[in-house]
Symmetry: C3
Subunit: 151 residues, 3 copies
């Protein structure tokens, strides 16, 4: 059993979702781990991680706009010192979360066909965001290819 760590820096321009599935897959592939567990950690309180459809850019705009309505700017917050987009950013980050943990099978995170990995930037201005990647696993294939049906 082995572990590996990595850090990705993601440049954001404005509020919204930035996909970074590809560099994650590339890094995992390079570790030579057939079966394992991949964890991504976003080391910020005004950006977060999300998994959603990576086929249509409209979906990403709709998600961004929906969060704008769910947690609006200027909703009477006490903490306004860092600008009107700061407090909603913290709340949106709590709603979406800083972390994803994905099983790795056959050397690849088990993402579904339409699932992409996204950094969700909640601030209006450009930022550099750091995501820590951790992988634990081994070269061997695990037992358990079988599928059970339930419900």
């Amino acid at each position: 059993m082995r572990q590996a760590l990595h850090r990705l820096t993601i440049a954001t321009q404005r509020k919204g979702l930035v996909e970074f599935t590809r560099p994650v897959l590339t890094w995992v592939r390079g570790q030579g781990i057939a079966t394992g567990l991949l964890t991504l950690w976003c080391a910020h309180t005004s950006a977060s991680l999300a998994v959603t459809e990576n086929a249509s850019p409209e979906v990403l705009d709709d998600i961004r706009d929906s969060f704008e309505r769910l947690v609006p700017e200027g909703a009477g917050y006490a903490h306004t010192l860092e600008g009107p987009d700061d407090m909603p950013s913290h709340i949106r980050a709590v709603l979406t979360g800083p972390q994803l943990t994905i099983p790795v099978a056959d050397g690849r995170p088990v993402l579904g066909t339409w699932q992409g990995i996204f950094l969700f930037e909640h601030r209006s201005r450009p930022h550099r965001r750091e995501v820590v990647l951790h992988l634990i696993g081994e070269d061997a294939y695990a037992l358990g290819g079988e599928t059970s049906k339930t419900a």
Copy 2:
């Protein structure tokens, strides 16, 4: 230290929460791992995972209805091609998340007394949903039964 992988297929009929705690516990029990870490991954962008009370069916209806109000259909989305329930599904899946990671102690995920594991279907029509289970751990018991009090 060992790993195991499994896939569960869950049939859904409509929007709402479908419990699948039992097949998860059964699979974990069969792996002979006393101490470990269990990860569940929902490989979809319009269904997600949730943990909530498994005693009252009213709780499940209230959660479903609450998400209907939080992220309504027909809220001026740009992405409407796949039906009125599609875009809210993606947003609700981002809010609840595709993944759960649960410590395993004494051969059992450390769920609280009232905690059940649920698939949250966000689409109106029936679907077959795939959840990947990953377990890493060992037969030995870990040190650390002690409890600290804080705050």
Copy 3:
């Protein structure tokens, strides 16, 4: 590769966020694991875990008040038997989640500068909440200090 388990009990007084970063860091430090993966599990359905800014108490009040508006009491719930704050608690717990998994590097969870770990109490009255900590890893340092830039 080794594992360790621990249980923290956190006393809450009312709705809101209670930080417990320090006892988590102290416990991890005591395990002698340089590289690993830390998982926290909140064993309740009306309290959850969150990561947010730990510098300003105003931020914590704004988050609490924002959840009060997002998922209000008295919104026509069917499940009212356990009091007006019960059903919103379950929904808020589903929105924030029972679990956090954090990579450990150099013997320390890779929290960002401003990131604190919080228990989010959703009930009005005092409770004793149990959080299970699981750590897997080894004393050795992992390869991979390097940082990639993307996007």
